[in-house]
Symmetry: C2
Subunit: 370 residues, 2 copies
């Protein structure tokens, strides 16, 4: 194999590939990137068996061939080369010669006979959306997946397509995050649970342009994201996702409209007086046209008032401050509406258009204050 490509192009490809390289694995081949020089171009493949990535790098194939190369060492070497053309050449003993200007590296490669390529997806359904939208819906929901290994399904997100509508849901037993996106066309209905790790990596790889599209292919076991020169394939999580519709009531007895940033900053300040280990809730007092927050801890006291527009009853309710902040941080609106029933029922933060719904369970104030 002999190829030549610009250092910067190669580095982009390597950075994408690295997202699917096993860190420390009992199978050394999973720590490798497979380079294939073919008539169709230079392809890098990496696969940690959960997540697999194929990406093409611009460059010239001088002699076709393939080689598996330790991903970390390869990435380190290329990154430290001068900003110039890189020549990669292998011999019959799988020794790899990397040249760039007057620097020459000689490192061992592997034939890669035991390399695990990406699975071919059968009977797929497909939707198209902008990279920007996909990146946004992930960012706005990924924080409420669970890292609890006992609830595998909670470690992923539901992607549900109905007609021209994509719904993305994550939940961790204390809260639910939902984002709804209108698609440009209607598609065949489908419903899958995508691992959180996959979505985290996809979010990093996507450049995120509004004009740049990403095609999502679904099979019964896999999901594939296809964009620009790259394909990312991941296993799906098996099982029926949680039924959440019955929790999303439209009934409320208190509705407030509040400035999102003011509320977020106020909660953020209040947490200064709460030791992480205390797990104390913040207590919010809704009283006519004010939301009143008061913290009284061993560190000190804090109180603050925020003007609100209130509909319905006054209410005192306690929350884990982190859960509120996580949701407030990812909403773009200047003002938000919060719907509450009573001090023991979940509050719901949602917009009129139904683009987002964040449901958060309150903390029992009386138990917490005991």
């Amino acid at each position: 194999m002999k190829i030549s490509c610009a250092k910067t192009d190669l580095m982009i490809g390597i950075n994408i590939s690295m997202k699917a390289v096993s860190a420390k694995n009992t199978l050394p081949i999973l720590e490798c990137i497979m380079i294939e020089a073919m008539s169709t171009g230079i392809k890098l493949t990496s696969n940690d068996t959960e997540l697999g990535i194929e990406t093409y790098v611009e460059g010239e194939v001088i002699t076709p061939g393939k080689i598996a190369i330790d991903a970390k060492l390869f990435s380190d070497i290329i990154r430290k080369l001068p900003n110039s053309d890189v020549m990669i050449e292998t011999d019959e003993n799988n020794q790899i010669l990397i040249r760039c200007e007057r620097a020459k590296f000689n490192i061992p490669g592997k034939s890669g006979e035991d390399f695990v390529y990406l699975p071919e997806l059968q009977n797929t359904k497909m939707v198209t959306l902008s990279q920007f939208s996909l990146k946004e819906v992930i960012r706005q929901t990924i924080f409420s997946i669970s890292d609890n290994e006992n609830n595998k399904l909670m470690s992923g997100e539901l992607f549900e397509i109905t007609g021209n509508h994509l719904k993305v849901v994550s939940l961790d037993g204390h809260r639910i995050s939902i984002r709804n996106v209108e698609l440009k066309e209607s598609y065949e209905s489908t419903k899958v649970v995508v691992p959180g790790k996959t979505l985290n990596e996809i979010m990093k790889i996507l450049t995120g342009g509004v004009e740049d599209e990403v095609k999502i292919h679904f099979s019964s076991n896999h999901i594939m994201f296809e964009f620009e020169n790259t394909k990312v394939v991941s296993r799906l999580l098996e099982g029926d996702y949680y039924k959440i519709d019955q929790m999303l009531t439209n009934d409320y007895s208190t509705k407030i409209v509040i400035n999102r940033q003011e509320f977020l900053d106020c909660i953020d300040r209040s947490t200064l007086l709460i030791r992480e280990s205390d797990k104390k809730p913040i207590i919010i007092n809704i009283n006519n046209s004010n939301l009143y927050m008061k913290i009284n801890s061993s560190i000190g006291q804090m109180d603050e008032e925020i003007e609100i527009i209130k509909e319905g009853k006054d209410l005192m309710i306690g929350f884990n401050p982190r859960f509120l902040m996580d949701a407030l941080r990812v909403i773009d609106n200047e003002n938000i509406s919060i719907y509450m029933v009573n001090e023991t029922s979940p509050c719901i933060i949602k917009d009129a258009e139904g683009a987002y719904v964040y449901l958060i369970l309150p903390v029992n104030i009386h138990a917490a204050n005991r």
Copy 2:
């Protein structure tokens, strides 16, 4: 006490003060910032007994007084307040009320009777230089102080003033870094050793303008840096600093002129093939108009040639790559001159003007290759 000041001004003062706050100390007062509201203004003082800082904050003194306040909590609260005026008020029980817009914090303070103020310096000598110069000479030498607790003097830097000339020296037993600065005026001669920690903190506090001056006062036990609204006082290290002049020979049998960045990048690349634990030197082969570097390790091989201008004999010599890189990184010149005698004598990197001298001991290649 009752004061009012802009959040941003207060935050600047707190950030400076924090550099002399003890992290975890058996004396809780050392974890505090002392706020003094006086006719001369609002003064913040912090002192971890090695390093002490006094800084004035713009603002209004409504009622004079003083209070000691936990530095970390104070800093966290002020940082998270809205960008507006902050009012700080104490009562007779040393309770502190901090108000900003509609946020109110109530935290306990200390009378600070046991607070350790900055020492008054007696019989001082003084020099003036630009903040930029001071910051630069520290940055360009601080990397070669030693963290070996047995050689206390090596953990500091020599500041030596002779006439209108400031010399700053650091050494760790393997290398010496020297920077020389011309001062605008002549001063009384003096010679002190300043703790490395102090210099690291000073470097962070100085804004670094070429036009901004810093006055340095020396007493027999202390050094004080005075600039803008701030005074930083530190103990000096006691003892006679190492005599280095006899090591700085002007004799050489090989002199090379090399592009600094090319040499630095080449060494940087070569370290990829050296495991930290191996402590292998890089071997440099100077041969006519080329510097030739070759690495052969269990990870792989690398070789590279750099064009040089050579004077004198060919030479093969080994170095700890980190020592070379540390020096090359802080030199500003495009091309540098390196002077060598033989494979066992130190190499010296210096400029014609004598602004900098970096001496680095070589590694015995034969011992290393055994």
